[in-house]
Symmetry: C2
Subunit: 466 residues, 2 copies
């Protein structure tokens, strides 16, 4: 599995800065390092240095000094990739970065493919596949929540959980196979009741992981919140109020800008993507089918739906709007938050709210004035509560990767077949086949089972230099 | 002079990448490092580690893992700044970079000002001021030539040269001062002839440095080449031909794009900035004074002037164009290159060229067809020869910094006053005063003489993290 080719890449962000780091990994990394590096201590060779040490000197190309640099030396297996490796910390001029890179290429080192360092770390057993994927997630993380999930995954909690399940399944399979060896004697080593119990237990755990994807996915990509409301109900005033109040938090999300289509708001580490939807059934009952269809699509993608209505003490009117919305878009009312806006103009009587709440017990009602910024914090507090990352413990496992989610679902289905098999008293060899299927899907996540296709798909999305 | 405050900054280019490096320098650097870092070898403390070593572990904020990192430990005086320092190599997510930075700030570490690390290196005697300035030049360098000058300067050649001059001047001054001590005895310790010789020698060296600025300045900022020619003479065709031919070289200049106003071409490591000028005296002799004035300004800024004329065997016609150009713009004919274009339409007879060359012996003539890309390489070869960076040796000193140039000029003028003083047989104390002036200006370059104003001006143009 080990690669003998030596690769290099600029590992720091593209562009101009104080320093840049160029990574080199592979059997020739230190050898070529010695060819192009001249230590300030004349005659000092990187080859004879200890792993994990830093060395000051010059990169020299054909007697010309390219830069004064610091080189980090890592010796196999004590490096990120598990191979011999050096990191050249040079001045952050684009020209110098290119010169150093060209010099390495001249010395028969290849330019690394995206994710190739991490792929090697995986192939050399430094991490499993789900940890490797977490590296990319970690680099892409732009909120406290997505960062937390990625860090947990990189630390190996998920892998550990999967390995525990795997061990149990292997124990299970070995009992059945023992049975097969003695099949003529009709011995049942594997107590079917115990098997059933073990299966239920594993299914429960996998189910929990599958469920966690709902949270993991929105945390990774941001929680889509669809806003429905008539044009003059105050949607943009609300968005402005939200963004003003949380300005300090918003500026923290580097990389995410409030683009034209979606407003992204970071509320205590969770990104919320506010999607303005156009169509809403007018109280006049004229439905523009095209508008409805577009809105329906957006609502389908949303995780939370914020219905904005204008304050009025004719609560029956509001109630109708809610009913229409639920019916038109087939909304689960647990997803719905109703914001009654413009209470500065029409204060709402307590009885109106009581009436509404009684009709729709699962819906959260907020009375607010976006214009005066009254009660806006009630909305943010509901959002916070719904996606509370503080409740995620260090050891909680949240699946956030679609590939893992799909593999877990397939494992779950295969477990169902095993359970069915036990119920139908099928023979041990068939049972074993189904269990091997479960193992296969779990192995795909950690990379015990992997094909070039799977690996290619995973690492192509990495940045170069990682 | 030593600062006791500890500073931090992201040292790698802004944005998203595989890894980022955060620098921390100052008395608390390693102490705070130990507060926020948890090694994989439990209980390992950075404080007890050797300088120049790397340590793998986690950055932990309030029991929450921020990232898996590698920390470089540098102990005073063996660091860039000369202070205790650490470099945190973390995953290149903007979110993580910000988290680590915030954690450092929370631990009373200050955000570094632009160039503050290098300023400390200067204040702690790790480098002199001209070397510190070369660090910024090196990072800004975008061509082989500007890189070479900066690297030479960073290596200390310039400083050494100045220190030699300084030592000689100090020797000179001490002889004169000895004389002053014995002034009543009318002894002349400082042989006036020897002094005069020493002065001439120093003046010659400073003159050479001053002259080198002409080359150093254009190399640093690119050689401005003004193109003059009538609208239909083929200027843009020529530029396209130049850029096509040198495409591979052009793409090497990261950071410099062919903007709307100037086309920048990298010819063997030197940047040439082609400035298209509008006005040229028509052969009809009607001069548009406004056009002439604008062109005159651009020509004044240019280092080379490329006059493009249309091929014709009426060489007197071309000769007139050249004469008008030289007269109108007051051009030194050594700066002028005349490119006779469209030889595909009107091939030029040898006798015509001979006639022109005889009239203008200092001008380089090129017969070309921009359209057919004929003889374009003759132009590039003349440009190459005029600014030949290959002729710059490793130890040649090229002044490229305006501040140094001005200080050298002032030193030169002060030297003139000393010389004048010897001639006029002024007394030793007045001579000493003038020599102290020379020392002052030289000291300004290396930073032996420096004010907060000078330092402030120099370091404010650095990037943060350097």
């Amino acid at each position: 599995m080990k690669s003998t080719n030596t690769i290099c890449a600029i590992a720091t962000p593209a562009g101009h800065g104080a320093i840049s780091v160029i990574r080199v990994s592979g059997t020739d990394a230190i050898i070529v390092g010695d060819k192009i590096f001249s230590s300030i201590n004349k005659g000092k060779k990187l080859k004879t240095q200890k792993s994990g040490t830093l060395h000051f000197g010059m990169i020299v190309d054909d007697n010309e000094i390219v830069d004064e640099v610091i080189i980090s030396v890592y010796k196999s297996p004590n490096s990120y990739t598990g191979e011999d490796a050096i990191e050249i910390s040079c001045h952050g001029s684009v020209y110098i970065q290119q010169r150093v890179l060209q010099l390495l290429l001249k010395n028969d080192i290849k330019l690394a493919l995206p994710g190739e360092f991490t792929q090697r770390a995986f192939l050399n057993g430094k991490m499993d596949l789900s940890q490797a994927e977490a590296v990319a997630d970690l680099i892409a993380s732009s909120s406290a929540a997505s960062h937390k999930i990625a860090i947990n995954q990189i630390r190996g909690g998920f892998s550990e959980e999967l390995n525990l399940l795997r061990d149990k399944l292997i124990e299970f399979i070995s009992l059945i196979e023992l049975e097969l060896d003695f099949s003529e004697e009709d011995v049942e080593f594997a107590d079917r009741n115990r098997l059933q119990e073990l299966l239920s237990n594993i299914k429960l755990k996998i189910k929990k992981l599958i469920f966690s994807f709902k949270l993991g996915n929105v945390i990774k990509n941001g929680v889509p919140v669809a806003i429905i409301g008539e044009p003059n109900v105050g949607k943009s005033t609300l968005l402005n109020a939200l963004f003003n109040e949380e300005k300090a938090i918003v500026s923290e999300i580097a990389g995410t800008t409030r683009d034209a289509i979606e407003d992204v708001l970071n509320i205590e580490g969770v990104l919320f993507r506010f999607i303005d939807t156009a169509g809403l059934r007018k109280t006049t009952d004229i439905i523009e089918s095209l508008g409805i269809e577009k809105t329906a699509q957006k609502i389908k993608q949303a995780d939370l739906i914020l219905l904005m209505v204008e304050a009025t003490n004719n609560w029956q009117h509001i109630s109708n709007q809610i009913k229409y919305t639920i019916d038109d878009y087939n909304i689960d009312d647990q997803q719905l938050i109703v914001l009654i806006n413009k209470i500065d103009k029409n204060p709402i009587e307590a009885s109106s709210i009581e009436g509404l709440q009684a009709s729709f017990p699962k819906i959260s009602f907020i009375q607010a004035s976006a214009k005066n910024k009254t009660n806006i914090e009630e909305l943010t507090s509901i959002l916070k509560k719904t996606y509370d990352i503080h409740s995620i413990g260090e050891n909680d496992i949240i699946v956030s990767n679609l590939r893992h989610y799909e593999a877990l679902q397939q494992a779950f289905e295969a477990l169902g077949r095993v359970e069915e098999g036990i119920k139908n008293e099928i023979t041990g060899d068939f049972l074993a086949m189904d269990i091997r299927q479960v193992l296969h899907y779990i192995g795909e996540i950690t990379g015990q089972i992997s094909t070039d296709d799977i690996l290619g798909n995973i690492f192509k999305n990495f940045c170069i230099g990682k």
